[in-house]
Subunit: 263 residues, 2 copies
């Protein structure tokens, strides 16, 4: 579990445009010409394509060094060469794919442990898009697309907790996912629901995040609700929750669950 | 504009099951064996089918008398026979179809005026499903399905205002319409956004409504927001709005915008 004062997390809702805002910011945070970026496509069944795609994008944006770290087994995630690659990195980027490919391959491995330490110590910037974003949450949303707000509208599992206390969903507006985010925060209102649109990201630092990109971040705070009822069967009730739809220029403080505007 | 103390409005999100909860309640409110129900399928290009469908449903639920009032021109909506049919009715039911077929055919006609009076005086129960529900709002949502919360994500127009101060959307969870409801209430936060799921309804009386049926009613109160910014282009910001997801058993008071539970 990271989220120490020094951690810098860039969490992207998927389908970010190449060569512009969000990825440009990532390269800048990574150090620009001094960047050593490691791309991990462990979420994907076709990692080669994504590795090449992002390497081209980051190089085009002026990143000094970009390399792929191919992890296909849990054994790979314990190799000294993998750990050495991370030690040299100024930034790590997780691509999209399937979020539990990431947790299954990396959860509890030496690569996972080292990443937690490097992120918490502020020694690298951790970024991820789509599945690579979801896995950063305390709780990740795995699936569920049934209409309505019910216990069966969402499936969740423990994320790698780089950003604890947050329940992240992605491709949010594009796939109409409010139902499942509401379902999840009704069951777990101690976590803040954060739905990130495509080509949109949050940059989380020091207990707050700011919004970047072309879409919005929808924050659902069911902790504010005065009544929540979750029947085993049938629709969930949530009365008095708060919702924020925040585009670029807005910030959100996770501890006091309050929005703000970037300076 | 109705919504006087005596008005009773049953506003259904579409696709209500025949022969059960919502329609049974409607027949009961209409007077059961003493009911005189008038079905108006003006929203539909195929009114005959819907008239027969609902006549069978209401009769099956024990309604005394059911008749269709076929209105295909504005002239029809001024005929003495149409007005006489409404004068005798204990309830009127508007079917689904296209909401602006209803306003185009009836808006400002003698049928519209008489309905407003009869509803306000509590002399009949007015019900509508889907398009027949949308037209009851102060502002009706006409369309818009673009992802994201933007000025172009929603098209609105004035409803017939049987329930003023409310912005109704229907087929809500099933068609993932929160984006467009949020877009609308960001622009018009003086109106309360009410998204009604399929097979779900609100029964509005005396400034409050109660939820009926198998789904939920999502209430978005952007009046509570401390910051709203609506750019001509790009994503809308809404900070600090309230959201309620209310299944059967819950009520909502429109004036003070507060939820409650049915006694």
């Amino acid at each position: 579990m990271a989220d120490a004062a020094g951690s810098r997390l860039l969490i992207i809702g998927g389908a970010e445009r190449r060569g512009t805002t969000i990825l440009a910011r990532f390269v800048e945070l990574a150090g620009g010409p001094d960047a050593h970026i490691v791309v991990i496509a462990a979420a994907s069944a076709v990692p080669g394509e994504l590795e090449a795609d992002y390497a081209a994008a980051f190089t085009g944006l002026g990143a000094g060094t970009v390399r792929a770290l191919r992890l296909t087994t849990r054994e790979d995630a314990g190799q000294p060469s993998a750990l050495a690659a991370l030690e040299q990195a100024t930034a790590v980027f997780f691509t999209g794919g399937d979020q539990y490919r990431i947790t299954t391959l990396l959860g509890g491995t030496p690569v996972d442990s080292l990443l937690q330490t490097l992120v918490a110590d502020g020694r690298l910037v951790l970024a991820g898009t789509s599945a690579g974003a979801a896995m950063m949450s305390g709780t990740m949303i795995l699936g569920g697309n049934a209409p309505g707000v019910t216990t069966t509208s969402v499936r969740t599992g423990p994320g790698l907790e780089f950003l604890p206390g947050v329940l992240i969903d992605m491709h949010f507006a594009e796939r109409g996912r409010l139902n499942r985010l509401l379902s999840a925060v009704a069951m777990y209102p101690h976590e803040v629901g954060v739905g990130i649109d495509e080509d949109t990201a949050i940059l989380a630092r020091q207990g707050a995040f700011q919004v970047l990109g072309s879409g919005s971040v929808t924050v659902v705070d069911a902790g504010a609700a005065s009544d929540i009822r979750v029947p085993a069967d049938g629709p969930i009730a949530i009365a008095g929750a708060r919702i924020h739809v925040l585009p670029a220029g807005y910030t959100f403080h996770l501890k006091d669950r309050e929005w703000g505007r970037a300076a």
